[in-house]
Symmetry: C2
Subunit: 311 residues, 2 copies
DNA sequence: ATCAATTAGTTGACGGAGTCAATGAATCGA
DNA sequence: TCGATTCATTGACTCCGTCAACTAATTGAT
């Protein structure tokens, strides 16, 4: 968990280095195919056909980035060898839907197995924990570079789980340090608040929400009991990468709804005036500024604000 | 932050999916070269020559995984075009050391620039934070798959930084939940201890150490002041992926050294009997078991142990 | 309903990227 | 010293993949 400070150039060089590295890596991995009766591209086509039904030639051209003429000839050869069947589609007489024949599957199976075994051997050289890191890193690369189909559900809210309060402490500590220069005592405060919250947690009166997006924690908020009539909204935060999705407003809404349902009379919160985007959310939700006071905390001179919402 | 549970097959499939994905990705990236007067392989060779001095043909064959005959012809063509110079080496009359001529550098420059710009465009589509994630993930893949020159310094110790206590809380909470089934109150305890520690931190009497390996936190430990004569070692932990490097013992040693230097008479610690690997470290360091008591904590019936070391 | 523009697929012609095997020369090693 | 290995070159060849021209079906704009 270090804070790298990459200039654009360093990042670009790092990506280019990775491309060179993986070009080589793929070259090694592809040697498996060369032993077989199929060329690398033929193998790629077979793979696609084995894993997707009803593909047309144009799909292969698009998905694998190949030349149409080459694919045409390649499929013709496959058909002659009895590896694939082509059937014209009813909807579009130009397209034909291609499928592996049993013989095609039989020819593909050993290829597939070899490739599988080769990757297994590659992974076996790594400790299980490293295998996991590898897979996760690859998935990250793929997610970032691939065409992200904007997640249908942009985010979900869920209750707290083990690991959450540490993670929230970590992220909030870093974010406020980076953005506002707050020192480590802010992180310490978050840790204490959350530790205390979990230890004395009473689901009747209190609750925490985690906003999660594609498996990553991207925000959170807590309602804590201040007195029988007053609930306190605390530690609202949304990851910079997930802003603009309305997560902050949604989290505040949940707090308001919960507080009302539990019979609190007032929902209060404490924040600092420099946190502008949070303030806008509170205002939009109907909170009124009740009090302001200067204070020195987290290594900075700040202006604290108390906001209240009558429920 | 989800807990993935990969069987071997899933991991293998994930790696293969990544290979297919990146094969395609590289295909797209390589289109830059195709516009130029050089083939992809020629461009790769030029890149190597531009970035390393005194290469021999055999080095190119090895590093880029090419056919010797092909490289020979390729270099011959380059030489004819005046792009490279070949000079026989004194040490070995078979080898010749290859270098780009000024004309060669001039021919390579635009290629290199195009590639650079292309990657820049790729990165510009991502938010800065995502660029950072991408670079980090690529580096992880490269480190894991490349011939790892086992890091000369397998780990370093450093003082606490912002973000650490949250991270430690997060990791300890997850690890003990996964391995021993402890509930969220353990994570809460860690959060409170660390929050309190930072808030009341007195460098004269207390200290924390972070073990870091290749930029990742892999362990930590704290010495806290219990009384004028007694120091307490707390929250020792080492990531499973970093065990066997002696990090745990080293962290305990640091604690002992610090406590001695500060004039404490006793170093004490509290642990649970199920934590076997930690116990072995304490015993090896000279700690003596002083007390045992049953207790119910973290959702489990446990046997707590107090160990002491007279300094 | 019509016609231009687009898309799916085919075919011929071609180039040259990359492979394979044989060879010579220098070096290493037991 | 002599066989084995390494570096580099060359001839011969394959076939992968590109490019352009073409047909046929479909789409879409008017």
């Amino acid at each position: 968990m270090t804070i790298h400070d990459h200039s654009g150039k360093e990042r670009i060089d790092a990506v280019r280095a990775f491309n060179r590295f993986y070009t080589r890596q793929i070259g090694v991995l592809d040697e498996v195919w060369l032993k077989s009766a199929f060329s690398l591209t033929e193998a790629r086509v077979l793979y696609e056909l084995a894993h997707h039904d009803g593909l047309a030639a144009s799909d292969l051209v698009r998905d694998l980035g190949l030349d149409p003429g080459y694919v045409s000839r390649l499929l013709k050869k496959f058909e002659e060898r009895g590896l694939v069947d082509r059937a014209a589609t009813e909807a579009d007489a130009r397209r034909s839907s291609i499928a592996l024949t049993p013989a095609g599957r039989e020819a593909f199976a050993p290829l597939n197995k070899d490739s599988h075994e080769q990757v297994r051997a590659l992974l076996d050289r790594l400790a299980p924990a490293d295998q996991e890191r590898l897979v996760k890193a690859m998935r990250t690369v793929q997610d970032l570079l691939g065409d992200k189909p904007e997640p249908k559900v942009p985010y979900i809210l869920r209750p707290l789980r083990v690991g959450d309060i540490g993670w929230i402490t970590h992220r909030q500590g870093l974010l406020y340090a980076q953005n506002y220069g707050w020192d480590e005592t802010y992180e310490a405060l978050v840790a204490e608040i959350l530790g205390e919250f979990v230890k004395t947690f009473n689901p009747q009166w209190e609750r925490g929400w985690i906003a999660e997006r594609e498996g990553e924690v991207v925000g959170s908020v807590f309602v804590m009991r201040k007195s029988a009539e007053v609930a306190k909204l605390r530690l609202l935060y949304v990851e910079p990468s997930a802003r603009g999705l309305g997560i902050g407003a949604r989290l505040v809404d949940e707090c308001i709804g919960f507080s009302r349902a539990k019979g609190y009379k007032t929902l209060t919160l404490w924040t600092n005036d420099i946190l502008g985007s949070a303030r806008r959310i509170y205002q939009a939700a109907g909170f009124k500024l009740a009090e302001e006071e200067r204070h020195h905390s987290f290594g900075k001179d700040l202006v604290g604000q108390t906001w209240n919402l009558e429920l």
